[in-house]
């Protein structure tokens, strides 16, 4: 599903060039639950931005479901994000003053066809993450864990091929973290592909495979059988 070949990413500020990713090569297969583990400040978010087609690599090639991402234009990348990817962010990124239900429906606004059963689908997803009683609550009325569950429901509304999560438990207490990771496990059990980027080994251990990064390169890969 995901094939990274010698991906590099550099940022230039004035005359100073910083190489964040220095030739990453790895694959993530369909239906896999993978964690990408790296210490803070070593380019995890940059990697997730490239994986999520929010940013292009400086060099190397990235194939997603057989499509060469580097050749796509901005509109085509938007289509890929809308139809095939679901995002879960550390800071939840929910729209303020907007109900949980409307937050979940957000990606459908940009879908080619708005499903007639969109509201039922969103309600069902919120029920599946345990927020049946909270569908009309606004983010400010929900706890951190509940907000992240809304974000997961939003990531699932378009029935994406992959869920990309960037430090999904970074802003949660241990109990909420556990609940969120259990949801990911359930989703994986249903056959979904999940990639979680984290600096926390305990979170990474929830995945079936962990890719360790060091100095912008893959250091090692561990598979949990």
């Amino acid at each position: 599903m995901i094939e990274f070949k010698e991906i590099t990413k550099s940022f230039t500020s004035g005359t100073v060039r910083t190489d964040v990713l220095k030739g990453l090569t790895f694959k993530v297969g369909k239906g896999e639950f993978a964690a990408i583990m790296a210490p803070s400040g070593t380019g995890k978010t940059t990697l997730l931005n490239i994986l999520g087609c929010l940013m292009k690599a400086s060099s190397g090639s990235y194939f997603f479901e057989g499509i060469d991402i580097e050749t796509l234009n901005d509109d085509q990348l938007s289509d890929i994000r809308n139809k095939r990817m679901g995002f879960v962010f550390q800071t939840f990124n929910l729209l303020e003053r907007t109900s949980a239900l409307d937050n979940v429906l957000l990606p459908l606004i940009y879908a080619d066809n708005y499903p007639v059963d969109a509201k039922q689908r969103a309600t069902k997803l919120l029920e599946s993450v345990g927020l049946k009683e909270r569908i009309n609550y606004k983010p400010s009325e929900l706890s951190g864990g509940q907000q992240q569950r809304v974000a997961i429901a939003r990531a699932l509304i378009n029935n994406p091929s992959i869920i990309l999560a960037d430090e999904p438990t970074g802003n949660l207490d241990s109990e909420s973290s556990k609940e969120v990771m259990n949801i990911f496990k359930t989703l994986h059990g249903q056959g979904r592909t999940i990639v979680v980027v984290t600096h926390d080994i305990n979170i990474a251990r929830n995945a079936r495979r962990t890719i360790f990064l060091k100095d912008g390169r893959v250091e090692k890969t561990e598979v949990i059988s």
Binding site: N49, S78, I109, Y110, D112, Y114
Partner: protein, 403 residues
């Protein structure tokens, strides 16, 4: 359909940011209300001007004694038109009728202890046909009045009000320059002349009485009004009159005219050029006001883009294309300016009505609505496009990581 869904986002955003929406709408309301009032005012002015030109008559030519440029009517003291001149014009091809009159401006008029100044014209009976204006009450000047040098007068309604108030003036006497005249009729109302003079502050007396008893001008005529048969030929007849008068007054080719001709075209040009400067100034104010509203809109929308970077980043992350972000922000701007336009036009109409009540010329037509609505939408587009494009140009990865 997708565009409608994106526009729906704009409506939600407007309701979620009520204070911001209120400030933008307020700025547009002020601008559009100003525009509406000014459009109504200039249209009212133009209508009044057209009415004044109509008052002059589309088939009329006025011949004034003395040369120079257009001003008020020539007075008896500068009269140089002869009976021979008038007869020659009467016999011209295309001329329907000619009436001669003597003019005195601002003559002192008294009745008891009431005093005013009025235009006093010495007229012939066919004056009423030439001006299409007779007596609304009582009688007009007759041939016999002219033959007998009668001391009778027809009084205009402004002069009548000034001297008589609510009393019926017919049968009463007034003093014009200490000569007593009996009021035999009241003149039909006419309003303002093309140059803005009150045509109802006028007193008509017999031509002969004016020439011999009041204005001391027995030989010459100060002014004449010619009515042509075909209004389309009014300029052609005016040219013939000019040539005939130059010949009869024995003017050499190098000499200027010693008379002036006023035609509807000339009057229209003169009135329009007078009102042009005022109209230009009003339009300038009318256009500037909504533009100020537009600048306020752009400022607030730019601030909104800055505040909503994270939201824009999120929308891009979940699949919004650049054009969707442009549509969302532009729709927001247009909805706000259009709402401001609707409220502004309504307020403008109320203000215009209030101004109308004070007697100012105001004309409210569908053009006022159309201009205001089009202008408000244009402002939403023009001043909303830059913030919208700025929002769309944000890098999604950077925008979503904004605090």
């Amino acid at each position: 359909m997708k565009a409608l869904r994106v526009a729906g986002v704009s409506i939600n955003t407007i309701f979620k940011h009520k204070m911001r929406a209120f400030l933008i709408i307020l700025a547009i309301v002020v601008g559009i209300a100003t525009l509406t009032v000014i459009v109504a005012l200039t249209q009212g002015m133009n209508k009044q001007i057209m009415k004044q030109i109509q008052n002059f008559g589309p088939d009329a030519i006025v011949i004034h004694s003395g040369g120079g440029k257009i001003r008020g009517p020539s007075t008896a003291s500068e009269a140089n038109l002869t009976r021979k001149d008038i007869s020659a014009i009467e016999n011209m091809d295309g001329v329907k009728l000619v009436t001669s009159f003597q003019v005195a401006l601002d003559m002192p008029v008294k009745r008891g202890n009431k005093f005013t100044t009025s235009w006093v014209w010495g007229v012939e009976p066919n004056w009423k046909d030439a001006w299409r204006r007779g007596a609304s009450k009582g009688e007009f000047i007759t041939d016999s009045d002219n033959e007998q040098l009668s001391k009778v007068c027809i009084i205009g309604q402004s002069a009548a009000k000034e001297l008589f108030g609510d009393v019926n003036p017919i049968g009463e006497n007034i003093l014009i320059e200490n000569v007593s005249f009996q009021v035999v009729g009241i003149l039909e109302k006419r309003g303002l002349s093309p140059i803005g003079t009150d045509f109802d502050n006028l007193i008509l007396i017999p031509f002969t009485t004016a020439s011999r008893r009041l204005m001391n001008q027995p030989l010459y005529i100060s002014t004449a009004r010619v009515i042509v048969r075909d209004p389309l030929r009014v300029e052609v007849v005016a040219k013939q009159i000019k040539e005939a008068l130059r010949e009869s007054h024995r003017l050499a080719a190098t000499e200027e005219d010693d008379f002036r001709l006023s035609t509807p075209g000339e009057i229209s040009e003169m009135v329009k050029s007078t009102s042009k400067t005022l109209e230009l100034f009003l339009w300038l104010v009318a256009v500037i006001s909504p533009f100020v509203g537009g600048i306020v809109l752009m400022n607030i929308m730019l601030m909104a883009v800055s505040e909503r970077k994270r939201e824009i980043g999120l929308r891009r992350a979940v699949g919004a294309k650049k054009k969707h972000i442009v549509v969302q922000f532009l729709a927001e701007s247009i909805m706000l300016t259009f709402s401001g336009g609707v409220i502004g036009v309504s307020m403008g109409i109320i203000i215009a009505f209030l101004i109308k009540l004070s007697g100012k010329p105001i004309s409210i037509t569908w053009q006022s609505f159309a201009i205001a609505f089009l202008f408000s939408t244009f402002i939403g587009l023009f001043f909303g496009i830059y913030p919208a494009k700025k929002a769309a140009a944000l890098d999604p990865a950077t925008a979503i990581s904004q605090k």
